[in-house]
Amino acid sequence: MRVGDRLLWHDVNVDVPAGQFVAILGPNGVGKSTLIKAALGVIPLADGEAYVLGEPAGVANRDIGYLPQRRSFDSSLRVRGIDVVRLGLDGDRFGLPWPWSAKNREAGRRVRDVIERVDASSYAMRPIGELSGGEQQRLLIAQALVRDPRLLILDEPLDSLDLPNQSAIAELIRRVCVDSGVTVLMVAHDVNPILPYLDQVIYLADGGAVCGTPAEVITSPTLSALYKTPIEVLRTSDGRLVVVGQPEAPAHHADRHTGQPH
């Protein structure tokens, strides 16, 4: 995969079994979001092929729930959370919903159900701009889930959340994965909040990638080989892994987040 004249990564072979919780890890600027966009067919691969849910990338997007990298809604946005979730169900339709039709009632029921599943019922009727980051994130996960997708792709959903919210959202994602049999592909730059729930890890670094269970991949020798520099993986007393010696991302990747106001 190339962005501009920069080779982000090559020879990445990813095979994700159904119903698993898989994390894509790696330092900033390594091309994690780009991998996801390639899987969605939004960015074409420079070379090679991507098949998602048995179809070429982009074809099966109706069966994919996608949560892009952290968006927060403007605090002045006067649109209810429930309306944002509803857009995930039928926002791409032409025409207007007929308010008294059976189809519309069914849509309303599905939206309420999915909001219930992410425990957001108590604030779904409030304008989404007034909600906290964690509350917004739950509603956005509901939006990604409302069509009962087979694959849920989340791009750094824990970013800019406080620690209790990080673990609460990670737990929620795990529950969705187990209860509904949805495959979850989640980009993260910090493995610690999700480590207890992960089935598989894809570690991207320095043009290459390693896949496997967390125990296989997040080890000192594997990461040292990936980065071509000594990396230590430490285990803290409460069982958390900490990666030490991770080099900083190259400086010339500043265009990565264009269009994402901060």
Binding site: L40, V42, N61, Y66, L67, P68, R71, F73, L77, R78, V79, R80, D83, V84, L87, G88, D90, G91, D92, R93, F94, G95, L96, P97, P99, R126, P127, Q143, A144, T258, G259, Q260, P261
Partner: protein, 294 residues
Amino acid sequence: MTLVASVVAVSNGNASWSWNLPGNVRDMFGYPFMVNAFRAGTIVAILGAIVGWYMVLRKQTFAGHTLSVAAFPGAAAATLIGISATVGYFAFCLAAALVIAIASRPSRGRGFSAESAVVGTVQAFVLASGYLFATLYNGLLSGLNNQLFGFTFGITDDQVVTLAAVAVIVLAVLAVIGRRLFFASIDSDVADARGVGVRLLGVVFLLVLGAAAAEASQITGALLVFALLVMPAAVAQRVTARPVAGIMLAVLIGVVATWAGLTMAYYTSYPSGFCITTFAFVAFIAVHRVRARA
């Protein structure tokens, strides 16, 4: 135009306000120019409120203002070359919409920040052009005032038909793309991944906005378009976060402000643009105060 203006003066001489409301309505509707003012005002109030609701949601009021300012050189140029002002309104507003759409190319994702510089540039140029056309056509001072601040009482039957036809077309377009436009307006990343054509929708909406601004300019004048385009929608979004209820409330506010403003203009001989704007502004202040207290 001068002929109609003198008719207004005569009617104002006879008209006096009373609280006999049906009588007032009979009184006003005795004059065809008042009937046309109410017809045209109602059409534009409905269209402006609905398009304005999306405009406020998308935070494109600056673009909306510029498109309505483009109505001024449009009307001036049409007068200069001797064609119908209506043609000039639509030609210039839609052309300005296309220029903004092509030149700004909003970067992916939300945010129209790249747009505002382009919009400002376009606005300065269209205002200057309008002034040029008005200067080239000497002695158009009263016409200039009407173009800038509105002249509701000179609207012909043909203009009402044109306003209605354009409004129906624009509302039909909005009915088709309304849901996708709502999606693209508040959540463009996900909408893009769903194949909603966010960029094309942005261009279509600017054209819709240009058409609505051209219509509203004919009622309130180029500088007071916001009375019908922004104020009702801004009030409605403050009152309710429900999309359908918000649009209906915006329409209600726009229509009531227009009717009240036209009535006030008839009985006081104050300019109609001022009267309509005042009622819309009162609604805005009232809601602001109520919400501030709540």
